[in-house]
Chain length 281, copies 2
C-alpha cells in the first residue's frame, strides 16, 4: 500500500520503463528522469538488486552522471539483513531520485519486501521523490506485480503468476518488454482475476511517466498499451480450468505513443499535443 501523503505535500512521479531503454545519444527517458530528480542537482540512488550482473549498478552510475546528475550511488542488497543498515537507509533518505534496474523482480521482492528499505522507498515517494525502474524494476513498482507467465495474445487460466510488489501504486498492473515478448495474454489474465486495476503494457525503450496527479505521460520510441477493465461485463476466470482460455467481455484498450496521456483516476486517454497539433481530440 502506498505511504500516506502528508497535508501540503504531493507524491513523487512513478516511472516504469519497458526495458532496453536507450542510454546514450537518444536517452530521452533516462534524461527526463534525471530532470525530474533535479537535473544538475539530481542525487540518484540506483538499486541493482534485481540483477545478477556485478556491473549493472556501475553502468547506470555512468549513464546518469553523463546525463548531468550531480551524484549517483549504487545501493545493492544481497541479503535481507543489509536492508536495515543505518548508513544505507541514510543514503536513501538523502536521494532526490530512486531507480531500480532490470533483472528478476522476485530478487527485489524477496530481498527488500517488508523491510525498512521498502517502507522508506514508499515514504520518500509519498514525500515527492521520483521512483523509476526498468524491466523487472518497472514491474516491482505496483502493488500487484506480474512475476512470470506465458507468451501469447490470449489469456488462459494459468498464463500469469502474480505476487505482491513494492506497492507505490495500486491503480495499475505493469508489464514490460510488452510487444517484443508478446505479453498481452498474461496482462489480460492478471485483469481477468480482478478487473479493478488498469493494465499497463510497456514496450522496450518506452516509459509511463505517472505524475503526482495520476496522469500517465508516454515517453520513448515504442507504445504503451493501456487495458481498462473497468466496464468489464464478464470474466470467466472463475470457471476456467488450468490451461483453458478465458473469456473477457467489454475491455477497453488504448495504444499510446510519446506525448499521449492516460488519467488513471478518470480512465480517460488523450492523444496529447501530438493530436492537438493535428486537430484531433
Amino acid at each position: 500500500m502506498p505511504a500516506r501523503i502528508q497535508e501540503g505535500e504531493q507524491r513523487g512521479w512513478i516511472v516504469p520503463i519497458g526495458g532496453a531503454e536507450a542510454r546514450h545519444d537518444r536517452a530521452r527517458i533516462l534524461k527526463r528522469f534525471v530532470e525530474l530528480c533535479g537535473a544538475g542537482d539530481a542525487d540518484i540512488v540506483v538499486i541493482p538488486t534485481a540483477s545478477r550482473l556485478a556491473d549493472t549498478g556501475e553502468s547506470y552510475e555512468h549513464v546518469f552522471s553523463d546525463l548531468g546528475a550531480a551524484r549517483v550511488t549504487t545501493l545493492d542488497f544481497d541479503t535481507r539483513r543489509d536492508t536495515s543498515e543505518p548508513n544505507r537507509l541514510e543514503r536513501l533518505r538523502e536521494a532526490s531520485g530512486i531507480f531500480f534496474t532490470g533483472g528478476n523482480q522476485l530478487r527485489i521482492a524477496t530481498t527488500i519486501g517488508g523491510t525498512p528499505i521498502a517502507k522508506l522507498v514508499r515514504e520518500r515517494n509519498a514525500r515527492g521523490v521520483p521512483v523509476g525502474g526498468t524491466s523487472a524494476g518497472a514491474s516491482i513498482l505496483s502493488d500487484h506485480m506480474i512475476v512470470s507467465g506465458k507468451e501469447g495474445g490470449s489469456p488462459t487460466a494459468d498464463s500469469v503468476r502474480l505476487a505482491p510488489g513494492l506497492g507505490l501504486t495500486n491503480r495499475c498492473v505493469i508489464d514490460q518488454h510488452f510487444r517484443q515478448r508478446d505479453r498481452l495474454g498474461r496482462l489480460l489474465a492478471a485483469l481477468a482475476y480482478n478487473p479493478f486495476a488498469v493494465g499497463i503494457g510497456l514496450d522496450e525503450d518506452t516509459a509511463a511517466f505517472i505524475r503526482p496527479d495520476n496522469v500517465l505521460e508516454v515517453e520513448g520510441s515504442g507504445a504503451v498499451t493501456v487495458v481498462d477493465a473497468g466496464d468489464l461485463q464478464f470474466s470467466s476466470m472463475a470457471q476456467a480450468g488450468e490451461g483453458e482460455p478465458v473469456s473477457m467481455l467489454g475491455l477497453k484498450v488504448h495504444i499510446l505513443v510519446a506525448g499521449a496521456t492516460f488519467n488513471l483516476d478518470t480512465r480517460r486517454a488523450s492523444a496529447g499535443s501530438l493530436a492537438e497539433s493535428k486537430g484531433v481530440h
Copy 2:
C-alpha cells in the same frame, strides 16, 4: 487498498472464518459476528456470489435470524452489471454488517472486483461496518488473495497462485480450511514471494476477529496459524525453478486458539485471558 478512514471514525471489524463453522447449537463465531453488527438491531447483508448453490444465501438468512439479527437480506450478483443497480447499492448502504459466503473466491473477484459494490464494501468497512466471510469469503477480504495451490507442508515455486482480493486489509494474506487441507506450504509460498504480509491460516470452525486497532482475536474450536515473515533472513523464491522447493530462513510461527490474540501492527502474539488465568505470559 482499504478506503480512507475519516477523522473521528474507526474501521469496522474484519472477520475471516476458516469454513465449516458451526451454525446452530455451538455457533460461537456467527453469534459473535451478529453481536458486532448490533445484536438485536443487526441488519445483515449476505453476499453468496462465491457459491454455485441456489440456497446458500437463504441458509445464512435463517442462521443469522435464529441468532437474533433484526433483518437479513441476501444480495447476489450474477453479472458485473448487477453491481451498479441503485437499489442493491442502497440496500448495502443500510446494512450494519456484510457477510460473504463460501464457494470460489474468483467468482467474487471476477464479478465484483473493481465495481461500485466492491468500493462500497470498503467504504462501509472504513466507516465502522463489520465485514465477515467464510472459506472463499474469508480469502477475498485481503488485498493479496490466495486463489489456489498445492497441498502439503513445504513451499515450492509453483505451490500457490495469487490474485487481487477486495482489499479491506493489506496486513495479511488469509488461507482457510487450513489444517484440514494441509495448506501450510502454499501460505508459506505466498510469503516467500514478498515477506511483507502476515500469513493467517484459519482452521475450519475458527475465525480471526480483526479489531479496528488491528489486533486479531481468535474464536472457534480450531486454531489460527500466524506466520510472520517480518524477520525473514532469506527466501530462495527468486532462484527456484517451477516445482522446486523454496528455502525460507527466519520465519516466526504462532499457533493460536480461542482467546489468544495477535497484533498485526506490532506483530506480537499473546495467549490472552487463557494464559493469564494460568499465570502464563
